[in-house]
């Protein structure tokens, strides 16, 4: 990846090597994309696999469409998908709001002890194994006599997602020039206004990227969710993981493929709406 050092003065060599580097980087990126998409394509294809005795097989045993209606008729699977979508939406939303504030405060809060305390909590969040969060949350709700619900599930999942958002936003804030904020303050802008009109726009790309991460972290959360599901609340990962014990049916591939395409469609719509409603002709935040 990294080219070997060359004589410093050789401009021509630099240029040639530069092109080679660019090509190598492009190739690397392409391979990464192929790597990332391969399992998805595989899952899409195997949603049409006949399988054997109702179980998925890696040997393709024949084409069928039967798993799509079968997945629809499996009410517990259908419910799990719905719950997962709703829960991860809320979790992502809360995580982005709370996590962005946290990520900013980690660097810019005026009081060093507060900054240190917040950093400690943030890193602590990452260190704690999820099974510990899961069990202690379950015990916590047991002791406080709070019934498990979608709200407790969302609340249980958010801490980890918040940490992810905070750290991504924090990396961005680190690269922002503090003097711009100070200049704004010197010119009479209130702190809230500075945050809204100076800081926020600069952080937007990082916030959007971290929103995606928060969503996927929440959607894929397995361990914490296992402890916090209820009779009427089951999530897709919990369903999938359970099905591994007796061998998953191709229905889960069908369901997951539909969910994936649906999510993409929703994102597309969201993007279009964003573009349409965005006042700036060249939206700087069109991520």
């Amino acid at each position: 990846m990294s080219p070997p050092p060359v004589p410093e003065s050789s401009r021509l060599a630099n240029l040639l090597q530069g092109r080679a580097t660019d090509r190598a980087l492009a190739l690397w990126y392409a391979l990464v994309v192929v790597f990332l998409f391969a399992p998805i394509l595989c899952a899409l294809v195997y949603a049409f696999n006949l399988g054997i005795v109702g179980k998925q097989t890696s040997t393709f045993t024949g084409w069928t469409l039967q798993w799509f209606p079968a997945a629809w008729h499996d009410t517990s699977l259908r419910r799990a998908v719905g719950t997962s979508l709703v829960v991860s939406f809320w979790s992502a939303l809360i995580s982005v709001l709370v996590g962005t504030a946290l990520g900013y405060a980690l660097i810019r809060h005026p009081s060093p002890p507060v900054r240190r305390l917040l950093s400690a909590i943030t890193y602590f969040l990452l260190i704690v194994p999820e099974s510990v969060i899961g069990v202690s949350s379950l015990l916590f709700y047991a002791v406080t006599a709070i019934r498990l619900s979608s709200a407790t599930l969302v609340a249980g999942i958010t801490p980890v997602a918040i940490a992810v958002v905070a750290l991504i936003v924090r990396a961005r804030v680190l690269t922002l020039d503090r003097r711009v904020e100070e200049a704004a303050a010197d010119l009479g802008s209130t702190r809230a206004k500075t945050l809204r009109f100076i800081v926020l726009p600069q952080m937007l790309p990082a916030i959007l990227a971290s929103a995606v991460m928060a969503y996927t972290f929440s959607f894929d959360n397995l361990v914490i969710s296992t402890f916090l599901t209820t009779p009427r609340l089951n999530t897709l990962p919990v369903y999938l993981y359970g099905s591994l014990q007796y061998g998953p049916a191709p229905t889960v591939y069908a369901a997951a493929s539909v969910v994936f395409l649906f999510t993409l469609a929703m994102l597309g719509v969201a993007f279009l709406l964003f573009r349409l409603t965005s006042r700036r002709p060249r939206g700087s935040a069109a991520l």
Binding site: K55, S58, A142, R147, A151, V212, F227, V238, G242, L267
Partner: protein, 357 residues
């Protein structure tokens, strides 16, 4: 995504969500009405569920777990309340009952008469006070006779075959402590429910030295057995049936001197909010036609008497559903979790898995 919402909306939603979370405000009607089942995924035939819905207008809500441990942890927490029917395995019934997490069954409201007597009154739940057998399975071995070279009749054969070049490194063991250590205990002439710490550790030593031959401790993928990346494996008859369906050369055996019979059971959770509905559903599940549909759907045999003769003729490898011909329940043993030894089984299993790394 989030950017679609304007700030006021976002803040409003945020406030609503956090408020609900903080107050734990859940409508009381949340759990009552309908029927709440906690089970393995895909463990009820969609057909019979749909028929039940048509008959009663009630759609059972099924939440799923990935292990009996999870089921226990959830029922054991007051926060986990609200389940009507749960499907614990034979191994955990005693502990669930001891903790007062299961409702005692009213036998007058259910037809036990149609069930296979061999599956009733077993030592994990004498008199079936808490459980009704749902379906059952065996701990057996699937192997490729060509790859292994010998016939496997006992667990001794199993361990010996696993050491052979060509087989070593292609062996699968269970991830549950008692299923890996159990066979070594049986060969020592011990009962896995009575074995003490010393017995378990001694049997565990055998497994630890065997561990280097093991490739996987996770649920057997029927494909892996069929395509030869695993040639010798502990597994249940359901996975064996799938593997043999893919590769008819494979053989399935329940080795001697003894092996495991596990039974998954219907049980009613303590304080079930929909008790009547639960009994209604259980009676429905025990109907012969439902038992047949369940068997064909999940691939494990339901508990009704004479089930074998009632299955459709188009079902492939029917015998394998029942673990092969001539399975004698009286010669098999069911594991019962004991708080005194379960930690040791787990500890030794961890050591075995670490030794394989």
């Amino acid at each position: 995504m989030t950017s679609m919402l304007n700030r006021r909306q976002t803040l409003g939603l945020f406030g609503a969500a956090s408020g609900a979370a903080l107050l734990g405000h859940v409508p009381r009607a949340f759990a009552a009405g309908g029927l709440n089942i906690y089970s393995w995924p895909n463990y009820f035939s969609s057909e019979s569920l749909a028929a039940y819905r048509k008959k009663t207008g009630v759609t059972p809500a099924i939440s799923t777990y990935d292990s009996d441990d999870t089921l226990f942890a959830k029922l054991n927490s007051p926060a986990g309340a609200g389940f009507d029917i749960v499907v614990p395995s034979s191994s955990w019934i005693e502990q669930l009952a001891a903790k007062g997490l299961l409702e005692e069954l009213d036998h007058g409201r259910l037809d036990f008469g149609s069930l296979d007597p061999d599956l009733l009154d077993r030592d994990y739940d004498r008199g079936n006070k808490y459980s009704i057998p749902k379906d059952w399975g065996l701990l057996g071995v699937i192997y490729d006779p060509e790859g292994v070279g010998t016939e496997i009749r006992t667990w001794e054969d199993f361990f010996k075959a696993g050491e052979k070049p060509g087989v070593s490194g292609k062996v699968r063991l269970s991830d549950s402590g008692w299923e890996t250590i159990g066979p070594a205990l049986w060969l020592d002439g011990k009962d896995w429910n009575a074995a003490g710490e010393a017995d378990i550790r001694k049997a565990g030593e055998r497994l630890k030295s065997f561990a280097r031959n093991v490739k996987s401790f996770t649920a057997l993928d029927a494909n892996a057995a069929a395509n030869g990346s695993i040639v010798l494996a502990q597994c249940n008859q359901g996975t064996a049936r799938a593997a043999i369906g893919l590769n008819p050369k494979l053989k399935w055996v329940v080795p001697g001197p003894t092996s495991e019979l596990w039974v998954d059971n219907y049980a009613i959770a303590k304080g079930a909010p929909n008790l009547d509905q639960a009994y209604d559903f259980l009676s429905y599940q025990l109907r012969p036609e439902v038992q047949v549909s369940e068997t064909e759907y999940i691939g494990f045999p339901a508990a009704i008497k004479g089930l074998r003769g009632k299955l459709g003729t188009d079902v492939k490898n029917v015998d394998l559903i029942f673990g092969g011909e001539g399975v004698d329940f009286s010669k098999l043993t069911s594991f019962v979790v004991n708080p005194k030894t379960i930690g040791i089984y787990l500890q030794v299993q961890s050591e075995i898995q670490a030794a394989a790394g």
